[in-house]
């Protein structure tokens, strides 16, 4: 046993300054991990109070105004301060240079600036929300947000504006890094799909976020100067706000889910010991989702008053964007065929993702169907749909990635028993929370309601029960992962025996990642043929 202490990125320098002024992408990833976890639990807390209120048809936990603030804060916190950064800022920051054989990102100081903008934007927004409140929903529709709400709209949109720059700088960093800093021999079509996913996500971030920034800025201008940019009473067009808002916010959902898809490809290949089925289609599907995702924003506006013809165009395009997602689900499934599958926790999360994303994605087809959408838009059906994708999909992908790369990031293994147990709890709790909401939505229960007709109560009670289980389920990994930092088994450089450059360096990696620049000679997921006990083997 090597008793001398090797220098890794965690022990290369101690003290707050070495962390708060770091330019090491791995340390910045840890800074993000801590801050994102904080915002996740804050956003989750808001949701728990909402679900508590929804146990009964009357308002008996909070007032109407407070409830409106809760759902607004829940949406803003979860989307902007958890989901959008999550995988890119934590796993992407940590892994992109490692996976492509680079020493750091292209612009390490810009990376640190990204984190500070995130923290500043996050704290600013949180304080604004908790002091003056925000009751516009995360969607800020006008003229309510610009002329009627008496809450802290301007500080909150300012905080989100600042966060937008954090996001843009991360995306910019990834794009340049992936283009310019790949190891010798690492051509585009040898890249792991995680990198393709980060790249596509970064392109979306860079193109879409500025539009949100300007939209929120114009909203602020209208509110301060009382002019009619979006307020019809003053000559403005509220639909213009909606078009501009959704032009970002629809691609934003792909920002939130594409990285998870990248993670799932890594997990499925490693734990079935096989190449991904249809690598080119998988990479192509990622890029297609990113591109097509920019063309469908109007499907959030089918009943908004936009023209019927616009509705039809957006509906048709929305079906197009569903197809590459379907292809990905089929290809992951096909990757398992004739694999050699071991059921470690990360794979359980991958299964969770595939199953729940399938359901969420298929319900997207319901929403793209114009006539059905007229009935279910603005109801709990939509709430269920996007939570299936975002929680059942994106968060499961995030947790799967955290568990998969935990040994690389920390050098420790977590307790597998507890990990499997909490994955199961999360799966059960999640479905109990959100499946009843599909039924509630089709029944007609609108969203953003804290009171409702009594016949909706049973389904709401089921949903709240599920939410409680979900809440407990998230606390368990928080506990055993932290515990593993001290007591976890030491992981070697490659505890999973996975392919990929990140596993060719120690766990945790040294500050400069690689002692020697790796040279790449083969494609991703080059697992050796699988030998069965009978001696026959598969080739690939």
């Amino acid at each position: 046993m090597n008793t001398e202490q090797t220098v890794d990125y965690l022990n290369a320098g101690y003290g707050p300054k070495s962390w708060l002024l770091t330019t090491d992408h791995k340390r910045i990833a840890i800074l993000y991990l801590i801050s994102i976890t904080f915002f996740f639990f804050v956003g989750g807390f808001f949701a728990l109070i909402m679900r508590l209120e929804l146990l009964t048809p009357q308002a008996d936990v909070v007032s109407a105004h407070t409830y409106n603030e809760l759902f607004s804060m829940h949406g803003i916190t979860m989307i902007f301060f958890f989901l959008v950064p999550s995988i890119p800022a934590v796993l992407g920051n940590f892994l992109v240079p490692l996976m492509i054989g680079a020493r750091d990102l292209a612009f390490p100081r810009l990376n640190l600036l990204s984190w500070y903008l995130y923290i500043f934007g996050g704290i600013f927004t949180l304080v604004a929300m908790l002091t003056g409140g925000i009751d516009t929903g995360w969607t800020f529709y006008t003229p309510f947000s610009s002329a009627y709400s008496t809450t802290n709209v301007i500080p909150v949109v300012t905080g989100i504006f600042i966060l937008g720059f954090s996001s843009i700088l991360t995306g910019l960093n990834f794009i340049v890094t992936i283009h310019k800093m790949r190891a010798p021999g690492l051509t585009w079509f040898r890249l792991p799909l995680f990198i393709w996913a980060q790249y596509a996500t970064s392109v979306i971030i860079v193109l879409a976020t500025p539009v949100l920034a300007i939209t929120l800025a114009l909203l602020g201008v209208e509110r301060i100067f009382r002019v009619g940019i979006f307020d019809p009473a003053l000559g403005g067009d509220p639909l213009l706000f909606q078009h501009l808002f959704w032009f970002y916010s629809h691609p934003a959902v792909y920002i939130m889910v594409l990285p998870s898809m990248g993670v799932v490809s890594e997990l499925v290949t490693c734990f079935s010991r096989k190449r991904i089925f249809g690598y080119y289609f998988m990479a192509g599907a990622i890029m297609a989702i990113a591109a097509l995702g920019f063309l469908v924003w109007g499907h959030h506006m089918f009943v908004s008053g936009q023209s019927v013809y616009a509705g039809m165009v957006f509906s048709a395009l929305s079906y197009f964007v569903a197809v590459p997602s379907a292809v990905k689900v089929f290809n992951w499934t096909a990757t398992l065929y004739k694999g050699n599958i071991s059921f470690h926790t990360p794979l359980l999360y991958a299964f969770g993702f595939i199953g729940l994303f399938t359901i969420g994605g298929l319900t997207g087809l319901f929403l793209a169907a114009l006539a059905v959408d007229v009935h279910v838009t603005d109801t709990y059906f939509v709430v269920a749909h996007f939570h299936y994708i975002m929680v059942g999909g994106a968060v499961m992908g995030y947790l799967g990635g955290i568990h998969y790369w935990w040994p690389k990031i920390t050098g420790r293994m977590y307790n597998e028993g507890w990990a499997k147990f909490s994955a199961l709890i999360l799966f059960v709790g999640f479905n109990l929370t959100f499946f009843p909401q599909f039924i509630l939505g089709y029944l007609g229960m609108p969203r953003r309601y804290h009171v409702y007709p009594p016949e909706f109560q049973v389904l709401n009670v089921l949903s709240t029960a599920g939410a409680t289980i979900l809440g407990v389920g998230y606390l368990i990994p928080f506990t055993y992962l932290i515990w593993s930092l001290r007591k976890g088994k030491q992981a070697g450089p490659n505890p999973w025996n996975a392919t990929g450059l990140e596993w060719k360096t120690p766990s945790p990696p040294p500050p400069h990642n690689f002692d020697k620049v790796p040279i790449v000679t083969e494609g991703a997921y080059a697992y050796p043929p699988i030998l069965t006990t009978e001696g026959t083997h598969g080739g690939s």
Binding site: F144, A233, Q457
Partner: protein
């Protein structure tokens, strides 16, 4: 206080013609979604068991890549999607073409109530009485923020916007009482902005209409407003005033001074009252002042009904699809 199982529905009642059509499409989608979900779940489970580490199943992979398979399972979702799209688009399009014999009822939404006015003059707050079997077209506007008029039993919903009109129509097929919800978040009272739609037997509906005594038809109130706001000083029947005559104008094609034409529907009338300089009739000067601050949305609706009624006997109404 959990209610009895018998009183908790899992599927909404079908109370309109559209409801049945939408439900059919919905059930088809449920079947397709269940089918594909089942395929994926079963495949995952089957592969997970059969190819688990240490199992004896053969891992000989003859075709690690299979272009035909990939193209097939790209094409099939595409075809299914196209089918769903066409079906649903047709339904959606029909939902936006109200029948010519629709009863027109005006809705003005405000934080946080629904104000409804029948052409006969009956007014309701948070209630809508309509006869079964006759199509109803709602002409809706908001006094403040965006709301949305949603009747789940009819499967129809339409956002209601300030400073413009949106419409929705439905054909009630079942007598009963149905929830009306506001479905676009509109502030503190959003969840309380609810009401009831009463679908009645046609004779009961007629009784209800006549039942409220001294109900003044909207067109009559509109005529009073037309005089009260002195519209009649410029808009005279014989076209001798400073403004064009409004007789027979509703539904006709109007020529504007920039060469374009516009149909004189409710939006045109409303825009002419709120922002007359924006659309000036050809041959007239832009001297009409704005009445936006003086005329409320309810009053605009009444003026529209009045103007609609101005059809000189010899003029044939130039049909406009409403």
């Amino acid at each position: 206080m959990i209610p009895l199982l018998s009183s908790f529905p899992l599927f909404p009642v079908e109370a309109s013609q559209q409801a049945r059509q939408v439900d059919t499409l919905y059930i088809a989608l449920v079947i397709i979604a269940t089918f594909f979900t089942a395929i994926i779940f079963i495949s995952l489970a089957f592969f997970a068991v059969r190819y688990r580490k240490g199992s004896k199943a053969s891992r000989v992979l003859l075709h690690p890549e299979n272009l035909k398979l990939e193209i097939t399972w790209t094409a099939i979702p595409l075809v299914i999607s196209a089918g769903i799209f066409l079906w649903s688009a047709k339904l959606y399009f029909d939902e936006h073409v109200p029948p010519a014999n629709s009863i027109e009822i005006y809705v003005v939404a405000k934080q946080w109530m629904w104000k409804i006015e029948h052409p006969q003059g009956n007014r309701e707050i948070n209630e809508l009485h309509i006869p079964v079997g006759i199509p109803v077209k709602l002409i809706m506007t908001s006094q403040d923020v965006i709301h949305s008029f949603y009747v789940p039993a009819f499967r129809v919903k339409q956002d209601v916007l300030p400073d413009r009109y949106t419409t929705e129509w439905f054909l009630p097929t079942k007598i009963g009482e149905y929830h009306l919800f506001c479905a676009e978040y509109c502030g503190t009272g959003h969840a309380s902005m609810r009401g009831t739609v009463y679908v009645m037997d046609p004779s009961d509906y007629q009784q209800w209409l006549a039942g409220k005594t001294h109900e003044v038809p909207m067109a009559t109130t509109g005529e009073e407003l037309f005089q009260h706001f002195a519209c009649n000083t410029c808009h005279q029947e014989n076209d001798m005033g400073r403004g064009p005559s409004l007789y027979g104008i509703y539904g006709s094609t109007v020529h504007l001074n920039d060469g374009s034409t516009v149909i004189a529907d409710q939006s045109y009338i409303r825009n002419s009252i709120d922002d007359p300089g924006g659309q000036v009739v050809a041959g007239y000067r832009p001297i009409m002042p704005t009445f936006k601050q003086q005329v409320s949305p309810d009053q605009v609706d009444q003026l529209i009904e009045y103007i609609k009624s101005l059809r000189p006997p010899e003029k044939v109404a130039k049909g406009m699809k409403q």
